[in-house]
């Protein structure tokens, strides 16, 4: 029997300081996330300098908690994986430099991981991947359709041309006077309202898997503005439901089209917006109608930013021979390749 592969993952790309240990790329041994969201709420969004300061305060505490949870020593580990990008550069730098210091101190191999690769590999902590597969990645910073024909090889077949879906959620939430972060509030209101307001759906050119949400966002803001000027009242619940219906229609339809075209075996949902109940339900319904395609949605704690997903993706890259040197840098606009 082969020896177990133990990888420590570190993630600091935005406002979560996270570390985790994953066994054989599939099993969580320890998983610690220190969220800064309470600190950023007062600013109505993540402030990069504040995020960086919190990461310095949290990093070693989170690492210690992780090692304690796992009940392991560094000599038990096989590699260290860290998010090298994309994300906030100052935030990424803390994780990258902590990871390098650990790799150096214990002479362990170091692997740089793309944040989106991490989100996709969160699924492997739930269910073994079957290729080819299609991943829909939706979060505050990303809306992407990624095709994978084997482990560790990613092909972005569609991405947003303007706002990410999560960004549109936050902006619309602000227009509806909902607190930050807006996504969960819109999802909640949408369950209580009806999608009766006519809002656009950006299908783009025939056959394109790209997304665009800025037109939709503007339509919501204009509709609210015009109604206000005319003295009409639009129920927030109905606007939330209508906006969410428009976002979900486009996300689900493009995912289904791509899944058919690429004849995939699995569709994975990844990223923080995977917590959205409306999206989950719609995707479940549509994918269940497709023959032989399995839908995998990780539990909520693996959808939002965490380091277990980085360790999981890092394990595969490590097995494929990927190594970083002590010169590894944070790359805020790293491409998925």
């Amino acid at each position: 029997m082969e020896k177990d592969l133990l990888v420590l993952g570190i993630e600091t790309s935005c406002d979560e300081t996270a570390a985790a240990i994953v066994k054989n790329g599939r099993e969580i041994v320890a998983n610690v996330v220190a969220s800064q969201i309470e600190s950023h709420k007062r600013f109505g969004g993540v402030v990069p300098e504040i995020a960086s300061r919190h990461h310095v305060e949290q990093m070693t505490i989170v690492l210690e908690e992780t090692m304690k949870q796992a009940n392991l020593n560094f000599s038990d580990l096989d590699a260290i994986a860290v998010t090298e990008g994309p994300g906030l550069v100052g935030a990424l730098l803390i994780g990258v430099n902590a990871a390098k210091a650990l790799a150096f101190a214990h002479q362990l191999p170091l692997v740089g991981v793309h944040h989106i690769a991490g989100h996709i590999y969160a699924n492997r902590l739930v269910k073994e991947m079957e290729f080819p597969l299609l991943a829909l990645v939706v979060s505050g910073g990303h809306t992407e359709l990624v095709y994978m024909k084997e482990h560790g090889v990613f092909e972005v077949i569609g991405e947003t041309r303007d706002d990410a879906a999560g960004e549109a959620y936050d902006k619309v939430a602000r227009a509806l006077d909902l607190p930050y972060p807006g996504g969960p509030h819109i999802d909640r209101l949408a369950q209580q309202g009806k999608p009766i307001i006519d809002l656009p759906r950006a299908w783009l050119e025939e056959g394109s898997y790209d997304f665009s949400f800025s037109g939709l966002k503007s339509a919501v803001i204009n509709t609210l503005h015009n109604a206000k000027q005319r003295g009409e009242i639009i129920k927030r619940e109905d606007m939330a439901a209508s906006f969410q219906a428009s976002v979900i229609d486009v996300l689900v339809e493009k995912t289904v089209q791509a899944a058919k075209h690429y004849q995939v075996k699995q569709v994975l949902l990844a990223g923080g917006v995977a917590a959205n109940r409306g999206l989950r339900a719609a995707l479940e319904e549509r994918v269940s109608q497709l023959d032989g395609i399995e839908l995998v949605i990780p539990p909520l704690f693996l959808c939002t930013d965490n380091a277990a997903m980085i360790a999981a993706a890092g394990t595969v890259l490590f097995q494929k021979g990927k190594r970083a040197t002590m010169a590894l840098n944070a790359n805020p606009s790293l491409e998925l390749a």
Binding site: R53, E57, M59, T60, N97, A98, A101, A105, H106, N329
Partner: protein, 234 residues
């Protein structure tokens, strides 16, 4: 006792290995290059040159700021992580104090400074008394012109030291006249071996709670606090 000292608070990158009283090696560059890419390779190669393995280190000393927020954080993150994982003590020393230590034989007040934009400087006031470097005024951010006025009241010789001294020297010369001197370029770069010696006999920090000394709040936080105060006043 093997000490690793790290300073990345400004453009100067400084790494040293000091073994008891011997400076085994130092790397000092003064370049507008990315610390994140260069610091760990520099530490790796210096330790290798000096035949020191990471687990043979006894103490980490780091320059804790003030300086570039990002720069200070890189050094502090590496220092905290190394100290934590190697289970050795960590000492933080003022980045300004390290520069001041270069003026060992100056008989008067030592004013290290880093430019902080818009006429402001990060600075403090130091002096050697019986060959020990003493802090006379804590590190701060202040307008250079304001600082010059405050220094005038001491009616003593003042040495401006640090690479950004040239940028601000006129302001001090106008206020202090002959009392103001500017250190020569060879003394401007902080020396990581001085950092190691300054840290060697100090009380160590709690690794988890140790943070950089930014000297000022993040802009968003300062604005937020100001708004809270307005609300209270209303």
């Amino acid at each position: 006792m093997k000490v690793l000292a790290i300073d990345t608070s400004n453009f100067v990158m400084g790494i040293s290995i000091v073994d008891d009283q011997a400076v085994k090696g130092e790397i000092i560059t003064n370049l507008k290059k990315n610390h994140s890419v260069r610091v760990m390779p520099a530490i790796e190669s210096l330790l290798q040159e000096c035949d020191v393995k990471p687990n043979e280190l006894d103490l980490i000393v780091v320059a804790k700021g003030p300086g570039s927020y990002t720069g200070v954080r890189i050094g502090v993150t590496i220092a905290k992580t190394l100290a934590w994982t190697l289970q050795i003590p960590l000492v933080g020393v003022s980045s300004l104090e390290v520069v001041a230590a270069n003026a060992k034989y100056f008989d008067g007040l030592i004013v290290p400074l880093f430019d902080a934009r818009r006429g402001q400087i990060y600075t403090g006031l130091y002096a050697y008394r019986d060959s020990i470097l003493e802090t006379i005024q804590e590190d701060r951010i202040v307008l250079a012109s304001e600082w010059a006025k405050q220094l005038k009241e001491y009616q003593q010789k003042v040495l401006l030291i640090g690479g950004d001294g040239e940028l601000h020297k006129q302001v001090f010369i106008e206020e202090l006249g002959d009392l103001a001197q500017v250190a020569p370029p060879s003394l401007h770069n902080p020396r990581p071996s001085e950092l190691a010696f300054l840290g060697m006999n100090r009380k160590s920090e709690d690794v988890h709670t140790f943070v950089p000394n930014y000297v000022r709040l993040a802009e968003a936080e300062a604005n937020w606090l100001a708004r809270q105060r307005e609300r209270v006043d209303e």
